[in-house]
């Protein structure tokens, strides 16, 4: 039992750690802002989940205690991470950050930018 | 570890001081914030470093020094209050004085007169 749990802890921790790392790698590797955004906001959720699960198992190793409050961190991250992402992307739209050339749906991006700021609204109309 | 910690404190202090020597309110605020990090770490270090000894009774047999921690807490709160006041004062100064310059006479003031000619 104990042994099994230790393996679980190790697995989840490694899983989490990897995803955290992958997310950050994505942040560095991706060519434009919108693509960079995918790395951290996703990988960190599972990455965090892994680490937290590891923690849950770890602290539940000893027979007289269990630890479940890590779930709360997950809960809060799930609630808040999309908001950060949303606000960031809004800022990017507002700042007219360019997506890489091959991005599809350029009109949608323009429309998004147009919606972001008043002035953009006008120029957006003339562009179309 | 102590060497590293001391280096961090010294470097934070130096950065904070350098920023406080800039002639505008905002860098000064940032510098003071940096300096207060250094101060807090310094106070904290005065109780010596301890890696596993959180001062909650019954969780360890080797406790860190709780007193500097309490002092740092007080210092953080006071530092926050002071920073807040200074930040708002900086806004007020900008509003009242038209500039956030605090380094004596503004060098730009001389240039301002020349500008129309150029």
């Amino acid at each position: 039992m104990q042994h099994w749990m230790e393996w679980a802890v190790a697995f989840f921790l490694l899983l989490g750690g990897s995803f955290v790392l992958i997310g950050s790698i994505g942040l560095v590797r991706m060519p434009d802002f919108f693509m960079r955004l995918h790395g951290p906001t996703k990988a960190t959720t599972l990455g965090m989940g892994g680490i937290l699960l590891g923690s849950i198992f770890y602290f539940s190793l000893s027979p007289d205690s269990i630890s479940v409050h890590e779930l709360l961190i997950t809960l809060f991250l799930l609630i808040t991470a999309p908001v950060s992402a949303h606000m960031l992307i809004k800022t990017a739209l507002h700042h007219r950050l360019q997506a890489i050339e091959r991005t599809q749906g350029e009109q949608e991006l323009k429309r998004g930018q147009a919606h972001a700021s008043k002035e953009g609204n006008r120029s957006g109309n003339t562009d179309n | 570890m102590e060497t590293l910690f001391a280096c961090c404190i010294g470097f934070l202090t130096a950065c904070g001081v350098f920023l406080m020597l800039r002639g505008r309110t905002f860098p000064v605020v940032v510098g003071l914030t940096m300096l207060s990090y250094a101060v807090n770490l310094f106070i904290f270090a005065s109780g010596r470093l301890n890696l596993r000894g959180a001062v909650v009774l019954g969780t360890s047999d080797n406790y860190a020094d709780p007193l500097p921690q309490a002092l740092v807490l007080t210092a953080i709160v006071i530092g926050f209050a002071m920073t807040a006041f200074l930040v708002i004062l900086a806004i007020r100064a900008r509003a009242d004085l038209g500039s956030d310059h605090v380094d004596g006479k503004l060098p730009g003031q001389k240039h301002a007169k020349r500008e129309p000619r150029q």
Partner: protein, 178 residues
């Protein structure tokens, strides 16, 4: 769809339940004193927070909601694996795209949940939510809105829109009955 609470002393029952669970998780204890305290707080806090809440549709199908949550969790896990591969793979093979998803949902809470879900799931991020018409008279019904989504690697736009609408939006409409 209902937007007014059933009881004035328990305006948001699911929220209270959530808070109660949070309290127990925080304390990691089922001791009677914590239960009592949890109940008191779970009743009291929503009561005082009710005023800081715009009217939202209430959850009508709690079980469906639970199913929705589990489905999203599962999707998150798979999504993460996919994205991990994408991130580590060759960058030039990615086909990023902006996709506009027309929404049937009209109320903030469901839209937020949908947007959050989209952000959490495979290779998509909710970029923006905006109405179809820019200017409205005050008494007109709420307009249809669009969800702008950025996709890391778009394979089929129509399929993506369909997935979002069926897999997530439809259950949400059902849950909130709106």
């Amino acid at each position: 769809m209902r937007m007014t609470p059933r009881f004035s002393w328990l305006p948001t029952p699911y929220r209270s339940l959530l808070l109660f669970v949070i309290w127990l998780l925080l304390n990691q204890s089922l001791a009677p004193i914590h239960l009592l305290f949890g109940v008191v707080l779970a009743l009291f806090i929503p009561y005082i927070c009710y005023r800081f809440r715009d009217p939202q549709p209430l959850v009508e199908r709690p079980l469906l909601a639970l199913r929705y949550i589990l489905r999203v969790f599962a999707d998150i896990v798979t999504a993460n694996a996919q994205v991990a591969v994408l991130i580590l793979g060759p960058v030039h093979k990615l086909h990023p795209a902006f996709v506009r998803v027309p929404l049937d949902l009209q109320h903030n809470l469901p839209i937020t949940i949908l947007a959050g879900t989209v952000s959490m799931t495979p290779g998509t991020v909710s970029a923006d939510i905006y109405p179809c018409t820019e200017h409205l008279a005050p008494d007109e019904p709420l307009p249809q809105r669009w969800l702008l989504v950025h996709v890391l690697n778009l394979e089929d736009e129509a399929e993506l829109i369909a997935t979002i609408k069926q897999r997530y939006e439809a259950p949400l409409k059902e849950i909130f009955k709106c």
